[in-house]
Symmetry: C2
């Protein structure tokens, strides 16, 4: 039996769940894993803060954040504070001190990965981050270990439950974006200030972390192309249905090699037959294509205290098994992550299919004007819908566009916008069939 | 960098793929995992055998099976021979010699698990078997490590590609069982003698392995309740569709505790909305319910040389990281598996819903006779279909039965069979909604 003593930083939704688990399930965990996890200390930013989970903060374990790492009774630091301020300092300090880190902090890894992995490599101290992506789904370990034989060719999926909940409601209940968002807020699936989720930042953080793992070197969040779901309207979802598609906010990683990688987060039309089209609500789902294994899919709860705690606990057990081992072995079965990874391919050069919705005047010649612009830009049209039943000054016009680099589409859209017959900014979403 | 030397036993579909991978991808694997895998020796039963994969057996590495384990240049034995004869001897010898084993042999684990895990525990030498269940899906590691925090409450899924291919063809193309089987054989998805797959033995081996991992102690294959798919007819699949169900061969494990566990393999009606209902062809898919994390789903290729090799290679890397470590740490992050595990709950006591199809004479009073038998046995009927359009001496009569222990249903069916109006053996399949 191995005994490991942890210091917990943060006592929010996830921290509270981890605390409750360790306080009540340590014996069970020991029987399953052979590891006895003891909680030595808890550090929080504000001990007076009211916490919605209602679990009382155990005052006897409370220490100051700046004391946590140095404590001799802390072998592993479990960072669940979030953010890039105090959390960053704690993580770097802990790695420097040779104490393995377990974290759920995707923002830290995505925005300060270079610094974190440099320190981890320098001191030969591993950092575990299963809980940073896709909550309780053991995706990170699968990418690192279970699929280690593979060149990862394509990874895509739903990694933000808030956006998926909103898009599901819009699709199934035909709600407007505003109504669906309000409903998600009422149910606690969206924050009062929802921008972090609905603008795609959270999904892009996760995409950067996954791309880092997949390529073996740090991928910078700031290079990731991000579009949120504010522009998705109920009308677009209905038109997508007519065309046999569903609209989902996807993280897409492909073209993975040591020098370059395509990483993007945006609303995406996917065929209704794609498994992800039937993932509703706050569930996360990821598809991983390896050159040896083929396509593997993982689905499950992507957030929430207990599901995320499940991932944190498994990392603690993993970290325990790395404690006291020769640091040259590092993460057991994973090579070190290089602090400087591939650069993200510019979105302008990314080729995909597109859905366009234009708002045009209902007059003869309009179609000719628009299609000439597309033709001049060498952009092929795969289908057009001019839906019935729209009366008034303007009508919607929907184009499905063949594979084209974004650069060309962007130029064409800017020319189309200037046409007199076009009365609103064109709406554009990418369409992906993922080679099927 | 760690270097590990393996001895490969077996050169069939999986062995050939592993050999090809290591011969061509060792450098890539080293860059991903930090482990250099060297192949020292290969042992096969019959060096003269023609192998369908067409990869030439490297004669310079060939050794006799009885020499493999003792070789000083073999650190890890990779057993891909299959069967319980020579493979069993090799695995036990290797564990005894303190050399970790990687195997894809579900039959060996399911039928001789007690002996294998006793030896593994006695010599403190781990055995890895990711490739034994669900091919390339990292299910075993997820159960052992990723979900280590959880009490596993329910595991079910499609673990035999041959049966799923046949049932999919029957469902989508309305083929008879015989035609679907012949087609599967022609495409190489079923063996010339398909009984091992279609009688559910392969799925039951896998169910025993998963139940062993989930409960932490060896579950005996011979106690697992097994029904194959020979009795599933095109008519039953059509009636199931009418009722809103699909028929799948499922492995179901639940009621998991150290003393007892429910483990069964049988054709099962599942609601069409269940994700597994849309898993077609040879894909495998497993749902795992943990008390902390909730429901996690895994899908992917469950068989085939490369997909299975992907799992074998990841186990080799895992095994490499266990080489030379203190044996008290054992599998890194997994407690030892107890050689004697829970006993399997008798199928007679298992409660479920049922689909019954009776072949009856088309006369007044028949329904009354049958429903009285069910009534006397305290078996509740949730719905009845007497389909239109059946002419002739006999007509089908379909009952959906509420939750009942199999004991009662068995007795009632035997009484029903004796009624004059019942002209053929009743067809019975279990119905599962998995609490949804």
């Amino acid at each position: 039996m191995k005994r490991v003593r942890i210091g917990l930083a943060g006592f929010g939704t996830v921290g509270g769940s981890v605390y409750r688990y360790i306080s009540t399930q340590a014996g069970f965990l020991e029987s399953r894993s052979g590891v006895r996890v003891c909680l030595s200390a808890i550090a929080v930013r504000d001990p007076g803060k009211k916490r919605s989970h209602g679990i009382p903060l155990p005052r006897s374990l409370l220490v100051k954040p700046e004391e946590l790492v140095a404590r001799p009774d802390v072998d592993i630091v479990v960072e669940l504070m979030g953010g890039c301020g105090m959390a960053r300092k704690l993580v770097l300090e802990s790695l420097k001190a040779g104490k393995p880190v377990v974290t759920a902090n995707k923002a830290l890894l995505a925005e300060h990965g270079e610094e974190v992995f440099t320190q981890s490599n320098r001191s030969g101290t591993p950092i575990f981050f299963e809980a940073s992506v896709a909550g309780g789904i053991p995706l990170i370990q699968s990418l690192k270990e279970g699929l280690v034989a593979n060149r990862l060719q394509l990874i895509y999926g739903i990694v933000n439950g808030t956006c998926n909940y909103i898009l599901s409601s819009m699709s199934k209940e035909k709600l407007s974006f505003e109504k669906a968002l309000a409903e998600a807020q009422a149910k606690g699936y969206a924050e009062a200030d929802p921008s972090f989720d609905i603008d795609g930042i959270d999904a892009a953080h996760k995409a950067a972390v996954v791309a880092t793992l997949a390529s073996g070197g740090c991928v910078k969040f700031k290079e990731v192309h991000v579009e949120g779901i504010r522009n998705v309207s109920a009308a677009d979802i209905q038109f997508a249905h007519q065309l046999g598609y569903e609209i989902k906010l996807l993280a897409i990683i492909r073209g993975i090699n040591p020098k370059s990688v395509e990483v993007r987060v945006h609303p995406t039309l996917i065929p209704s037959a794609n498994h992800l089209a039937s993932i509703h609500g706050v569930t996360n789902s990821m598809m991983v294509r390896g050159d040896v294994v083929g396509d593997i899919e993982f689905s499950g709860p992507g957030a929430g205290g207990p599901a995320t705690a499940s991932a944190v606990i498994s990392d603690i057990v993993q970290a325990a098994s790395s404690c006291g081992r020769n640091s040259s072995e590092f993460n057991g079965t994973t090579a070190r992550i290089r602090p400087v990874g591939p650069s993200v391919a510019a979105i302008e050069s990314v080729v995909s299919r597109y859905y366009l919705r234009l708002t045009v005047t209902d007059r003869p010649g309009v179609m000719a004007q628009i299609t000439s612009v597309l033709g001049r830009a060498k952009i092929g049209i795969s289908s057009v819908i001019q839906p019935e039943g729209h009366e008034g000054e303007t009508v919607p016009l929907i184009f499905m566009i063949h594979d084209a680099p974004y650069k060309s589409v962007k130029l064409a859209l800017s020319a189309i916008r200037k046409l007199n017959c076009v009365k609103a900014a064109p709406i554009m979403f990418r369409v992906e069939t993922f080679g099927k």
